[in-house]
């Protein structure tokens, strides 16, 4: 029986410059933030990031880690616009962008997870998503309808990171909140060897059903290569029902985007040490 437990830094050490990484969660909800912080600590660069974007995007852009962003939106939910992402866009500092309809993003991950080259959809047709992404092509239905559809290409990932509520040491994991988001598809779209789950708590396998029904078991060990125990690992995003979004902290993070000095102070206070240093700094308030 393989014990897949590892640390955030060990997981990030499997990555290389220029890789395509998928980040689970949605907006400012159940983001694998301790993994994002580990990437911030690493020397990695030129990443392609695929995400339903929240503060993962803001932080990685502010650190200059992103060469290409594949996304449908970037938002902090309770703060509609992500200020660090806005700065990155408004200063033209993200070299390549692939802005897609939210459903196209799902379809691309799903196609990759099914090993299909593309999946057909109507979402995106007629909008500027087509003009802004000239690599997108259409396909004609071979049946009597003959309809022309958008062929959403597979979004194949080199690595995926998701944060769940509970996991066992082998990679079975449960979501206890209201929405799985697309975490299973991020894991499915990623190359075996670099599919990582962080969890609030690692529990014995026999305890996985103690806090939820079998319907919560959407991530199974065949989808996972590494498991990281990360209490408050989604902080400051929400991780229901373990904790809500830390709105006070999120506001401080957003406010720190006003100028370079404010951001430097925030960075020094929270982001220059280990994950433990971060959690202790948050606890100190």
């Amino acid at each position: 029986m393989s014990d897949k437990r590892c640390t955030e830094d060990e997981a990030v050490a499997t990555l290389a410059d220029g890789m395509t990484i998928g980040i689970g969660g949605w907006g400012s909800r159940r983001k694998p933030m301790s993994m994002v912080r580990a990437i911030l600590r690493s020397p990695l660069k030129d990443l392609t990031v695929v995400t339903y974007g929240g503060p993962d995007v803001g932080l990685l852009c502010a650190a200059g880690k992103v060469r290409k962003l594949v996304y449908g939106f970037v938002s902090l939910d309770s703060i509609a616009l992500e200020p660090h992402f806005r700065i990155a866009r408004q200063t033209g500092s993200i070299p390549e962008l692939q802005e897609l309809d939210e459903g196209m993003l799902q379809w691309g991950l799903y196609a990759a997870s099914l090993r299909l080259p593309f999946l057909p959809t109507r979402s995106g047709l007629g909008s500027d998503v087509m003009a802004l992404n000239p690599m997108l092509k259409t396909v004609r239905s071979p049946y009597a309808d003959g309809e022309e559809l958008l062929a959403m290409p597979a979004l194949t990932l080199d690595a995926a990171f998701v944060h769940l509520n509970r996991a066992d040491a082998r990679g079975n994991a449960t979501f206890l909140g209201p929405d799985l988001y697309f975490d299973d598809l991020f894991l499915g779209a990623a190359a075996p060897g670099r599919r990582f789950v962080s969890a609030e708590r690692i529990v014995p396998t026999e305890d996985l059903l103690k806090e939820g029904t079998f319907h919560t078991m959407r991530i199974t060990r065949g989808m996972v290569d590494g498991v990281v125990e990360a209490p408050f690992g989604a902080h400051f995003t929400s991780c229901e029902p373990d904790y809500p979004r830390d709105e006070v902290f999120q506001k401080a993070y957003a406010d720190a985007a006003v100028d370079a000095d404010a951001w430097r102070a925030f960075h020094e206070r929270y982001l220059e040490g280990s994950e433990r240093d971060y959690q202790e700094a948050v606890a100190r308030g």
Partner: protein, 255 residues
């Protein structure tokens, strides 16, 4: 329309909520999805009064039965609607969404992505989100809390939601399923059912003039037969009190 059943006590926000609710009239048993305070209130108001079969959500992941006040978590869950099911529902066409619009143009194209040149926008906004998929799959309406020439522009900078010309050019299926039902603003109610799908001013809210709306719109409007937006009935006014006891609607629309 005069205000035959009006109570006379309605605020502008009340009138807007009723106008958004009206956009859902006749929709039956589909997902009435409202993005933001007034759209969510409008959907719940429609369901609480004249469109009782609508499905409305808590804005997170659940369909709720009965009246759920804005900001309240005291809900009766009648179904589960995580994002994946939202996508399934919208691709199946069993949904009518009321979205925001940072820009809306003469053809009905909507922009929530960014303002200015794509490579280096003057203002980065949300991204296209679900607007491309929403508008090709089912009925869409828009809520604009600040009717002005900044929002109503001749041509949007990024086409997120499709207007009528784009939909027609995207193929027969999309053309047949695309509909911009209504645009409700803090001043007026509009649609795109003028000649050649030109934008038409349907009604101005009580206290607003047609000239004021024309002035605040950056393209030409069809202004034949403009009426006055109706005020809430007594039943609707009571429902608004139940559904928004804290008066959050008045923070969004102050007039």
């Amino acid at each position: 329309m005069a205000e035959p059943a009006g109570t006379g006590a309605a605020t502008r926000a009340d009138v807007c909520a009723v106008a958004i609710a009206e956009a859902f009239r006749g929709d039956g048993e589909i997902f009435a999805s409202g993005m933001g305070t007034l759209p969510m209130l409008g959907a719940r108001l429609a369901r609480a009064t004249f469109e009782p079969d609508l499905l409305v959500s808590d804005g997170e992941a659940f369909y709720v039965a009965g009246d759920l006040p804005l900001g309240s978590d005291d809900k009766v869950i009648e179904g589960w609607i995580p994002f994946r099911s939202v996508f399934d529902t919208l691709w199946a066409g069993r949904r009518h969404v009321v979205m925001g619009a940072s820009q809306l143009d003469a053809e009905g194209n909507q922009n929530i992505s960014n303002i200015g040149p794509w490579a280096r926008p003057s203002a980065q906004l949300l991204g296209v989100r679900g607007a491309p998929g929403n508008t090709v799959n089912h009925t869409t309406s828009y809520w604009v809390p600040n009717h002005s020439t900044r929002v109503f522009v001749p041509q949007v900078d990024v086409v997120c939601g499709l207007g009528y010309r784009r939909a027609a050019e995207a193929g027969a299926w999309i053309d047949a399923h695309h509909e911009i039902r209504r645009v409700v603003t803090n001043k007026a109610v509009l649609d795109f059912n003028g000649p050649d799908h030109r934008c038409r001013l349907l009604s101005v809210h009580p206290g607003v003039t047609v000239e004021e709306v024309v002035e605040a719109t950056g393209f030409e409007l069809v202004t034949d037969g403009v009426t006055t937006t109706r005020e809430p009935t007594a039943e609707e006014q009571a429902a608004l009190g139940r559904l928004d006891p804290a008066g959050l609607r008045h923070k969004e629309v102050r007039a």
